[in-house]
């Protein structure tokens, strides 16, 4: 990103608000802003819905007994568009200028968009181990979605990496397919809630390797084994595995905003109660900002708060 970007000769369209990110926070902001008759553009680098579409079953979204994240995303998108909000997906941001009264965002192949207010709702992305072999074997044994790919590993031995609720819940769920699931975790204790730890420990198909660092994934055309070392003794263990599911949390997708708005040491955007960032006219909502709880409902709440704060600011200007 070039913070000095200031080429207004190529302006394509002016908006009241640009929302960067089309997950539950961004789409909710779009619904509120569109309904309030503010010209709003949502720009997403991927698919509208964000991490919400990773949830196959959502049973705790108030007012909806049971649905999928993808279904909520589709409805939210339609709802935002019905209020006049425009949505650009699969769009790469080439340059951004967030300072000053007029903000600008250049999107590759689409042009330059300007607005008085920007809401950052860039969300988070699943954390990866960052190994070259992990990337090479994705879809060939390495996976991030048990519900999607679990049945490929019927009667096979697999590994689940992580120690939080997701890792243990998914590891237990994977025993419906796999003959053996070895949970490999970096610490000597779990971060998951005690009930799910107990459930995993009671399952005869689940085995544990604690205090380990993953070194490599071995396999040419498909995964064959996972190599890890004990973090204290240095002992190397090779675990035979046809599959490896990685559940090591999420990181905020805020690299593009580094140096533009204030971030904390984890790269999360710092906001006040109105979700205003350190830059006037720029708000942040959802998983990209500093917050304790990350749920679809909390992202939706953030989106509505940021939109209402933006409306207040636009009405005052």
């Amino acid at each position: 990103m070039d913070p000095s970007y200031d080429d207004f000769d190529r302006v394509v369209s002016e908006y009241d608000v640009i929302v960067l990110g089309g997950g539950p926070a961004g789409l909710t902001a779009g619904i509120y802003l569109g309904r309030a008759k503010f010209k709003t553009l949502i720009i997403d680098t991927g698919t509208a819905g964000g991490q919400m579409i990773l949830s196959y079953h959502v049973a705790n979204y108030p007012g909806v007994e049971e649905t999928s994240g993808a279904s909520i995303a589709k409805t939210m998108r339609k709802q935002a568009q019905s209020f006049g909000c425009e949505i650009l997906t699969q769009s790469k941001v080439a340059a951004m200028q967030l300072e000053g009264e007029r903000k600008s965002v250049e999107v590759v192949g689409k042009g330059v968009f300007t607005s008085k207010v920007v809401i950052i709702a860039s969300g988070g992305v699943p954390r990866t181990l960052g190994l070259a072999s992990e990337k090479r074997l994705q879809g060939r044994g390495v996976s991030y979605c048990a519900t999607c790919d679990g049945d490929f590993f019927t009667d096979m031995e697999i590994v689940a990496i992580g120690g939080g609720n997701s890792a243990l819940e998914e590891a237990v769920a994977l025993t419906a397919y796999a003959s053996k699931v070895t949970i490999i975790h970096e610490f000597d204790h779990f971060q998951a809630e005690p009930w799910i730890v107990e459930e995993a420990k009671k399952n005869p198909k689940v085995h544990f390797l604690m205090h380990q660092e993953i070194q490599d994934f071995i396999g040419e055309k498909k995964l064959e084994k996972v190599v890890c070392t004990h973090k204290t003794s240095g002992e190397v263990t090779e675990v035979l595995a046809a599959g490896c599911f990685v559940f090591i949390g999420y990181v905020p997708k805020t690299d593009a905003f580094s140096g533009m708005v204030k971030l904390d040491e984890r790269g999360q955007i710092i906001t006040d109660e109105r979700l205003a960032t350190s830059v006037p006219g720029v708000f942040a909502a959802g998983d990209c900002r500093v917050k304790r709880y990350r749920q679809i409902t909390t992202a939706v709440a953030d989106g509505s708060i940021a939109a209402m704060a933006a409306i207040e600011e636009l009405n005052q200007s």
């Binding site: 579409i53 196959y56 994705q138 879809g139 979605c145």
Partner: protein, 113 residues
């Protein structure tokens, strides 16, 4: 049937027609799952930029899926979706699991532009 705006390939005959009647084909075989939806969305978004390519989806659990599952190029694939690119009826590239827009466009540009 998959809930997308793409053309659906649902039978053996439709599969044969798809790869034999179109010079360039991108076929995504998956479910309505988290790793598959982004690929369908990419196909819908970039489709208008590639007039010479026929974009289609296929239900991984549907009647026509064996046509994709048995391809030599997808053996070893362990992640949905299976995305296969055909030129003149022959597979020129195949990918497993989620892809981003740059990865898809680079394959489309490499084989179909």
């Amino acid at each position: 049937m998959l809930d997308t705006n793409l053309a659906h390939c649902e039978s053996d005959q439709e599969f044969q027609d798809l790869i034999n009647k179109h010079e360039n084909v991108m076929l995504c075989c998956g479910r309505m799952g988290p790793m598959c939806l982004p690929v369908y969305d990419i196909m819908e978004t970039v489709g208008p930029d590639y007039d010479a390519v026929k974009f289609s989806d296929m239900d991984f659990d549907g009647a026509a899926a064996s046509n994709v599952r048995q391809l030599a190029e997808v053996q070893g694939f362990m992640g949905l979706p299976f995305t296969v690119y055909f030129k003149n009826g022959q597979v020129v590239e195949a990918t497993s699991s989620i892809q981003d827009v740059d990865q898809v466009k680079s394959i489309l540009d490499k084989h179909f532009k």
